[in-house]
Structure formats: structure tokens, C-alpha cells
Amino acid sequence: MRGFAEAAPGPRARPKDRGAALHGGGGGAPQNHEGERTDGPWLLGVRHHGPGSARAVREALDACVPRAVLIEGPPEADALVALVGDDGMSPPVALLAHVTDDPARSAFWPLAEFSPEWVALRWAVERGVPVRFIDLPAAHSLAQPPGDDPDPDQAVDEAQGDPPGERPNPQVDVGSGTEPGHPGQPAGQEAAGQEAGQEAAGQEGDPDGRSLRIDPLAVLAETAGYDDPERWWEDVVEHRAAADDALAPFAALADAMGALRERYGDGGHARDTAREAYMRLQLRAARKEFGDEVAVVCGAWHVPALAAKVTVTADRAVLKGLPKTKVDMTWVPWTHRRLSRASGYGAGIASPGWYAHLFRAPDRPVERWMTRVAGLLRDEDRAVSSAHVIEAVRLAETLAVMRGRPLPGLSETTDAVRAVMCDGSDVPLALVHDKLVVGDVLGEVPEAAPAVPLQRDLSRTQRRLRLKPEALERELDLDLRKETDAARSRLLHRLRLLGVGWGEPSATGRSSTGTFRESWRLRWEPELAVRVAEAGIWGTTVLAAATAKAESDAISAPALADVTALAERCLLAELPDALPTVMQVLADRAALDTDVGHLAQALPALVRSLRYGDVRSTDTGALAEVAAGLAGRIFVGLPPACAGLDADGGAQMRGHVDAVHTAVGLLAEPTPPDGATTTAVRGRWHSVLRVLAGRDTVPGEVRGRAVRLLLDEGELEHPEAARLMGLALSPGAAPADAAAWIEGFVGSGSGGTGGGMLLIHDDRLLGLVDAWLTSVPAEAFTDVLPLLRRTFSAYEAGVRRTLGELVRRGPGGAAEAITATTGIRGFAAEPDQERADAVLPVLHLLLGLAPPNPATLNPTATATSSTSQSPAVASAPAPASAVRDLTEAPA
């Protein structure tokens, strides 16, 4: 194959005259093409997606009126040609080929309104002229599994949506004039351009393998003294005025390509040998069927190869033994954004909107463009007058003259728009780029188009997981520890992300986040098939589509909390590839969000995801990093954010502090490899709390809460807490603030730590509260009463009663005496083993460790010997009676 590839251009040598390149290899005597119609076959070398090429192709077809049109593209698409004329079909669209059994292996051939291939298709379909696609069948090009593909272009690029032909040849299909130095001479340039654009894209995006290949466009552009091949192509081809002879440009371009291929051979595109052999065979077959009057629309790079004289036997030999697989083909809608090189499936055109404009504008393209830009900016409330448009056009034209270009190109118009209409700023310019230069155009395909591969992939997965789509609603309980159930759960979550609402988590399922159970309500509605078809734009498999959708959702999500929720869903649906993007967006949003409240709301969900990820054994390294970063930002932002809040704001902030505290606890709890970091997180949180506790501008409620949290964490000694409380409750403090402090300190927070217990067991604190309360002036007392009532009424009845008894007894000498003899007041000096054991069944029941034995469950014996401050007991929602027993036991 290689040997042939090198030899092929050899015998061709230079055509005797330019006309020769226009004729098929087998072909008639070379004629003088100039001014007259020549006999076919006409080889119309183009630049894929080049508007100038498209226009030239239309003119050439009108002039020649061939009996058949051959187009570079997969022959499997022949059956789909009729759909081009359908009313429901509007470009941009793409031909999609995928391996029947493995939709993930697929290739796209995007076609825009301004693609020469599309123009040729339309031309032929409108006139009833037969169309044949003549490129190597997708059955061959997709046959090699991606893993052992010797040519990275094929698997990678095609899967990324380029015609197998286009992607590799981009570098080469480019045409050029015979005299590149003369932009004024249109003749040579009409061919292959688009591929050139792709070339540029390819070099940026695809470092592997690509750089080894030659870029003929760059070669030609350099010869012409241009540093940017893309711009050179625009100048000599796309901005060319219409020529008199519709075929002349193709001839000149073919000539230039011939010269290039003579020099560079296949230009490093080994696969082209097979493709061109196939094209030649197809061309021969077409000439047998339709005679010589056929037109071929193909990348200009291939024109010399098609014109070359190679025997049928030689071509057959090249094609022998190519691997083959079964492929399906369909039309899918495409968008301008995807055509642009910025996105993954791009065709490598930086400015599809601009090209579409060039193709569509009947005349005065720059003036029309500027008017459209002005219209767009006006819609965005920018004052842009007609005078601006005039000045912008003038500047663009003068710039073009200064840069020695025949007409203002995109860069001149953009510079002019920036300087005249946007005050030199790139911000409105970004809008222009997004809406006009790229454009928001979304293609459509008729309903008659064959099903998209996503549907097939879904059906396959459904069969594999034995999960039939049924119209009848049913409940599905999943145990995520089982492989099949986990896969089912992932499928349902992914479909939900794609907007295919087949399964909804039922109420019980939702609440059990973080466990091994999940409940779903399944119901397959007929319109879900439509949803699947719509989701087809995101990818060919459920996994790929969900990943792409999640990434897109993340980027467009309006609020931080949305991104956090999305991260959670990504974990549920197990989309590890989407996670980095989502995390990046999350980190960015968090970095720019100035409201600590938002961050504090986002953190718990994130930490929850982190822990849930552990359950699902997902890699959550990135998540942990983001969570730690988020925590860090909260730590920095919290103290200033707490200053100058009113009562409501303080209560809200206390909620945030509680939430962050819980989250920090979870974050620090599992000790990953670097235990240092987690303890550092905890330590930094404690220092934040200390700052909050000691700062006067912080509302009392938050201050009290901070002290309490520190006390619970053992970071603060009781005497120190008492000192802080004394400070907060000292006569100088405003009574309302002091009451809020108490609320924060002993109120039942969301953490659930019973505030009252603390007062019961620490005389000093109770004494302080008591002393403060009695000293509150009468006029202020009515103000603080509601708050105090709210604080204390939240306690359990038993706690309240005990508190009341303690206060009546009077905190003082008696209490101290008791403390001195028995250690903690209210408890015997020695633990009572028997009564302690009695509590175990209840604990088992509560923690769900083992089925409790009802016989041993004796509520009256649930007093405990464990330390009264043990959070395990205090925080468990023990029955009220148990707590009462606990507190009343010694009485």
C-alpha cells in the first residue's frame, strides 16, 4: 500500500495543460477549458466547508449540468440522499455512521449550509440527478477497533466527527493557485480550502501524529508570504469575486495540488491510498453507468489522485483484505457551535457564522455584516448608531488595504467592531463572536431519518440489565451492593441527566441517600423515545451522552448550588469523565462567589457527595480537593461576613455555622492518606470559631454558638467558656444580644446536642445565666423574654423540670458540696453495671446493629453509666421517657 502510494503520483507528472487535471484519469483528450464548456468528468476540488468553494461548485454544476454527482462521503449514505430534499431537513446536519453493535465507534460528517458537498447534494436532489458517495465505505473505516488503530486519525478524528476523508486530508486537501503570489488571480485557488482550516485546528488540538504531516496550505501560504494559512485561503479563495469561467478555478487549483502532491506524495496520509483507490473505482463505475458527464465534488487534495491513470487491478489490489464491519448510517442535527473548532466534535471551522454570512450575503458582505453586528449590540442595549456602522466599515476597509488584503476579512471586521462599536473592549466583542461569528444555528433532520445510535445503545443496555421499558408504572428497589442493581441505578441516573425521565427516585429512595438502597418508580412513556432522539445530539452511547450533557449543564448552571447538585448526580450516575469539568466549574464558581452563605450551603452537599462517593467506591480525590478548597474559602470569608448582621441574619448565619461545622466534621472524619490535611481543616475551623467567639461585632447568637461548638469539641475548657459567657452576659452587654448569645449557646442547634443538659451539669454556667437573668432591667426584660422562652421551650419537658428544680434549689454552696463528693452531680461515684447493661438493647435498636430482643427491652432501666456528656447518648433521639429517667434517676 505504501509503495503504491508513493508511486501513484509519479506517472502522472505534470499535466500538459491545466485542462488535463480536470479530466478523469481514463479520460478524453485534454481540451482547452478556458471559456468553453469541457467534457466531463469534472473534478471539482473543494475546501470542505468553504463558502467560496460552495459558491463555485454551484456555478460549476449550473454550467456543466452533469448527469450524476459524485461526492466524497461514505457510500452507505446513498440511501439517505432523498432526505436532503425533505422539508424537515435544514442544515447544519451531519451524517452519522456507527458500528451496529458498538455505537461508541462512530464517525460524523458534518455539513453546513455553506458546505460544497451540501450545495452539490441540494443541487442534485432538486433536479433529480442521481447522487453517489464515493469515499471508502464507513464499513471499512470504522472496522478497526480504536485500540489497535495504526492511524490515530481514523479512530480519534472520525469519532470526533469528521468525515474520515476530511480529517486526514485537511492538511492536504487544500488548494492553491498556481501563482500563489497573485491574490488577484482567482484561477488557481478555488479548491480545497476547508481542509486547510481543519489543518490549523488539527495542529492545535491534536499533537499526536499530526505534526509529522505536511500542511500543504501552510506551504502555499508561506510561498505567498502569509504567516497564517487560514487567512491566505480566505484571501485567495473565499473573498474572490466570481470568475467568468465557472470551471477555471477548479482547473488552477487542481494544478496546484498536482504540483504539491508531486512534491509531497501522500503528505503523510497513508489511508488516503485506499480511499483514493476506492474513489477511482467508483468514478469508473459511474462513468460506465452515466457516461462521462459526471461531476465529482471532493477535497482538492484528491483531485490529482482521481485524475491519475491507475489500472483497475491495481486499485482492487489496494482495497483487498480491508477489515469490514456492519455499520448503520443516519442524519443527525448539528449546530454551528459544534462545527467550530472550539467544541469536541468540531469540523475545525473557527467561524461558521461568518462563513454562512459570506455564503448567504448576495452582495456587500462587510456592510451587511456590520449592520448585523450593530443590530445585535443594540439588542443588548449598547448605543450603536448608523454612524458607527459607517465608521466600522470604513475602518475595516482601510485596514484591509493597509494589510494588503483584497477585502476585509474576519480579523479586519473584528478589529473594526472592537475599535468603533465596542470602545476597544473585548466584552461585547465576545458576544459578537458567540452569536454571530460562531452563531446559534441548530439544524434539523426529518422524522423519517433512521434511529440514532443512542436509542440502540439504550436498548442494548436495557436488555443486558433485564430492565424492560414498560408503560405500566412499577416500583423498583435496588441493592447497590449487587453489580446488576448498581448498573441499573447508574443507567436510570444517567437517563435522568439526559432528560429522559423513565425512572423517578421514589420518596423512600431519595431519603436513603448514602445507603445501599435505592427505590425507583419506572414508567416508559412513548414520548420518551423522542427525548432519546433529542438526546442523541450529546453522544452515541448513554454514558457518553450523559457525560457531555453533564459537562454542558455544569458550564451553564446559574448558581453554585446547582453545580453542587450536579456533582452529586454525576457521582450517582457514575460519570467520572464529567466530574473534572463539573469540579472545575464548581471551584471557579466558589472562587468568585462573594456570598459566604452560598458557599456554606454548597459545602454540606459536597461533603455528602464525598461520603456517598465512598459508598459507591468512586474516585473522589478531585471532589475532596474541591471540598477542602471550599472549606478554606468559607473559613476566610466567614468572620467578615458575620459582622453587622441583624437578628434574622444572625439566626441564618448560625445555621450556616452549624452546617459548616457538621460538614467539617465529616470532611475530617475519614482519614485519607494525608491525615495531616484533615486535621488541619479541623484546626483551622477551630481557629475560625475562636475568632467568631471573641469578636464583638459578630451577632450574639453566632458568638454563643461558636463557644458552644468549641466547648463540645473539647477545644475550650469549661472555665474559659464560663468566662466568655460572663463577658457576653455582663451588665454592659445589650440584653437582647445577651439573650441571643444564650440562644446560640444552649439552644438546640441543628446538630441536636441538647443544650439544656449542659446547663444542668455545669453549675457555673447555670449560675451565670441565673445571675444575668435576675439582673436584666425590668424594661428590657419584656424584650428578651420571647427569645428566652423560645430557647428554653425547645427543651424536653424533663430537662425543663430539672432546670427549674435546680434554679429553685439555688445554685450555690449545696451544689458545690455535692460536686466535691460525687464528681459529676446527679451521678453515683461508681457506675452501676447492671443498669448500664440494660441500655444496650435500645442502642442496638437505634443503631440497627442487630435485632433487639424485646424481652430485655426495659424502658425503666435505661439509665446509663456512660458519661453524661457522651454525644452518642445525648444526640440519639432517645424516647422522652428515657431522658427523663436519665435525669431523674438520682432524685
Binding site: 454612524a387 493597509m402 475599535a419 468603533v420 476597544g424 471551584a587 471557579d588 472562587a591 478554606g632
Partner: protein, 378 residues
């Protein structure tokens, strides 16, 4: 009615031409050789009264080598596109507005543009809060006025008026510092290309070749925003901050070196690492993203221009020379950076601390700097 203005005043304004001793010669004098070589080599069409073609003007600013081997030094290092737009704007009859934060070579570019286009960069109006209308239109020689009554002899033309009558390039520096009502005097000049002299019932019409370059600072507080009527008369070119860290480090170290010599500061042997650090911090905060592009950070309210980075480093050098061991250390620049970043005590402090905790703390080899910053921020 067009009247040619008496140019007698010109020489007086320009002062003695033998400026071999001038502290800072004008661009057209300092680069006279280059301009001459360019003019000789330039065979492209020139707009009326231009000394060079637009292409040659762009070459003069961006540098290059002429066919005869003359090397044109680059006057402006930055995107070619910007210079092309600026020169093209001057070639049309639109005025040019150069925007940018301090230290982006606005004045420098404007001076060289004027020198290359008109061969004279001295027709300059310096905008201040106190710039009167006379500075833009014309004033009176009161002795003449009282002795002989209003006449052209008693008139003192402004640089703008002279540029109009002679077809030259006028320059207005710091346009946004000029009070709004004075700014608007320019509207008639730029749209009608005429300057009425009501007292004499005459007018000065601009001849071909006249144009105006204004510079303005777009990040400063308290400027007089241009009215939209005036703004519409300008094509705007925003001069960007240095594109890469390397370029900025280079600019900073070069300027610091110059400043240090004039202040007789000892040169710091190890300074470049610290300069790089200062530039990195400034760039990251300015751009709102870390140098590796992975973490976003909030931007403070200050400008954080290259000029400020220069002053931070110079200040640090002075500190280390007079109070330290003569080596520029993190602690020497920390306080300066804090002062440059934290302009708004509430909001900027949070921004700075977040940056410290999220970025500086984790960074390899920045421990000393982190500690120094913590010390001064606490």
C-alpha cells in the same frame, strides 16, 4: 473662511532645537535616523501631509529591517493588530483614543505615532483637572488685545488649533482628567473639523492630515467619563498589560534597575526571584486566575498595574538596603503588596486572605512569602 495661523509662536514653544543636552529628546529627534531611512525606503502611497505611509508608520512602531539593512528598533512590544488599527484610524479622519491602565505605554505610543505621522510630537495638550478651554481652542495675548483690539495677532493658538491649520497630529494626554465641559470643545473640532473664532467672526478649518490622538486611563477612579457624543468621534484602542509573565518581569526589573540607580540604591543580587513573585501575584489577582490556569481567584478593586509592581519592588529594595541585609526578601515586598492589593479595607482584605489561603499557602517554595504575608496581614 480659512485663515492661516501665525506660526511665530511655534519656535518659542518648541524651544531651542539643539537638544543634545536635553534630558529627554523628543521621539522625532531621538529616532531621526530611523524615520529618515523609513521615508527613503517607503514607496507606498502616503495620505496627505503624512511623512510616511501607514505601513511605514506601523513598521516604525513595531520594528523591522528595511531593504537597505537599516534596523528599526521596536518602540512598542505588543499585538501588531493594535498598532495597525491605531495607524489605520489616523489614516481615516477618525480620532484615536488610546485606553489602558497606567504603565501600558499609552503616552509613549501616542508620541511615536505623532512623530512618525507628522514628524512632530510636540503639539500636546496635557489634560488635568484644571485644563481650561483655552488650552484646546485658543487664548489671547492680553497686551496685544488691549493695545490693538481683537485681531489674529492677539490670538494665541492652542496646539490643537495649530495642528488643524497645518495638517498635523495633535495629542491630548489624560483626556478623562479634563473637566467634561472642556472635553466637549473637542466635539466640533472632531466632527466639523473646524474651530470657530467667534470674537473675530472667523474660523480655522482643519486641513487634510489633521488628526488627534488622545490617551485616557480606564481604571482610575474619579475620572470624567467621555460624553457619548465625544466618544463616538473616537476609535478606541485598548493597550493591554504585558502578555506574559516573562515580558512583565522584564519590564519591572528593567525599570527597577533604572530607578534604583537614580536613587542610589544598592543592586540586589537575588532580586529577580522576588520580582517574579511580585509580578506573579499581581498578574494572578488582576486576571482572576492562577498562572497555571487551574484556580480562579477574586480580583481586588485596585488596578495592580505594572507601574505599581515596579513601585512595590523599588520600595522593597529600599527597605532591604536600609533596614535589611541588602538582599530582597519576601518580608520586604509583603507589606508593599498588601498595600497595593488592599485598597478597600473590607472587601479587598477578604480577597487577599482568600488568595493567601487558597493559592499562596499550597505553593511550592512560597512558604517564606506566605509567612511574611500572614505577618503583615494579621
Amino acid at each position: 473662511m480659512t485663515v492661516s495661523v501665525n506660526t511665530a509662536v511655534t519656535t518659542a514653544v518648541n524651544g531651542p532645537k539643539d537638544d543634545a543636552a536635553a534630558l529627554r529628546p523628543h521621539a522625532e529627534d531621538a529616532f531621526a535616523d530611523e524615520l529618515k531611512a523609513l521615508a527613503a525606503a517607503d514607496d507606498r502611497p502616503r495620505p496627505a501631509r503624512w511623512r510616511l505611509s501607514p505601513w511605514a508608520v506601523a513598521t516604525y512602531l513595531l520594528g523591522g529591517t528595511l531593504p537597505d539593512g537599516t534596523v528599526i528598533t521596536p518602540k512598542y512590544v505588543g499585538p501588531r493588530r493594535l498598532v495597525e488599527v491605531a495607524v489605520t484610524t489616523l489614516a481615516t479622519d477618525r480620532a484615536l483614543l488610546l485606553l489602558g491602565v497606567p504603565g501600558t505605554a499609552k503616552t509613549w505610543v501616542s508620541e511615536h505615532l505623532a512623530a512618525a505621522v507628522s514628524g512632530d510630537s510636540t503639539l500636546l495638550v496635557q489634560g488635568t483637572a484644571g485644563t481650561p478651554e483655552e488650552a484646546i481652542r485658543y487664548g489671547w495675548n492680553y497686551a496685544q488685545l488691549l493695545a490693538h483690539g481683537p485681531s489674529r495677532d492677539a490670538l494665541v493658538p492652542s496646539p490643537v488649533m495649530r495642528a488643524m491649520s497645518e495638517g498635523m497630529t495633535a495629542r491630548v494626554e489624560e483626556l478623562t482628567r479634563i473637566p467634561a465641559d472642556v472635553q466637549d470643545t473637542l466635539i466640533t473640532i472632531l466632527s466639523e473639523k473646524t474651530l470657530p473664532i467667534a470674537e473675530l467672526g472667523q474660523e480655522v478649518q482643519a486641513v487634510r492630515g489633521f488628526n488627534l490622538i488622545a490617551t485616557a486611563n480606564d481604571r482610575d477612579r474619579g475620572v470624567n467619563e467621555l460624553s457619548s457624543a465625544l466618544r463616538r468621534r473616537f476609535n478606541t484602542v485598548v493597550l493591554p498589560l504585558p502578555e506574559s509573565v516573562e515580558a512583565e518581569v522584564d519590564i519591572v526589573s528593567r525599570r527597577v534597575d533604572q530607578l534604583g540607580r537614580s536613587l542610589d540604591l544598592p543592586t540586589a543580587p537575588d532580586g529577580i526571584a522576588e520580582i517574579r513573585r511580585v509580578v506573579t501575584v499581581f498578574r494572578e489577582l488582576r486576571d482572576g486566575v492562577t498562572a497555571d490556569g487551574r484556580t480562579k481567584v477574586k480580583s481586588p478593586s485596585g488596578t495592580l498595574s505594572t507601574a505599581e509592581a515596579i513601585s512595590v519592588v523599588t520600595n522593597g529594595l529600599a527597605l532591604s538596603a536600609h533596614f535589611g541585609d541588602g538582599i530582597l526578601r519576601p518580608a520586604d515586598v509583603a507589606a508593599g503588596i498588601l498595600g497595593a492589593v488592599v485598597r478597600d479595607p473590607a472587601a479587598d482584605r477578604v480577597v487577599w486572605q482568600e488568595y493567601l489561603e487558597a493559592v499562596v499557602r499550597e505553593r511550592e517554595g512560597w512558604k517564606d512569602f506566605y509567612r511574611a504575608c500572614r505577618e503583615v496581614s494579621a
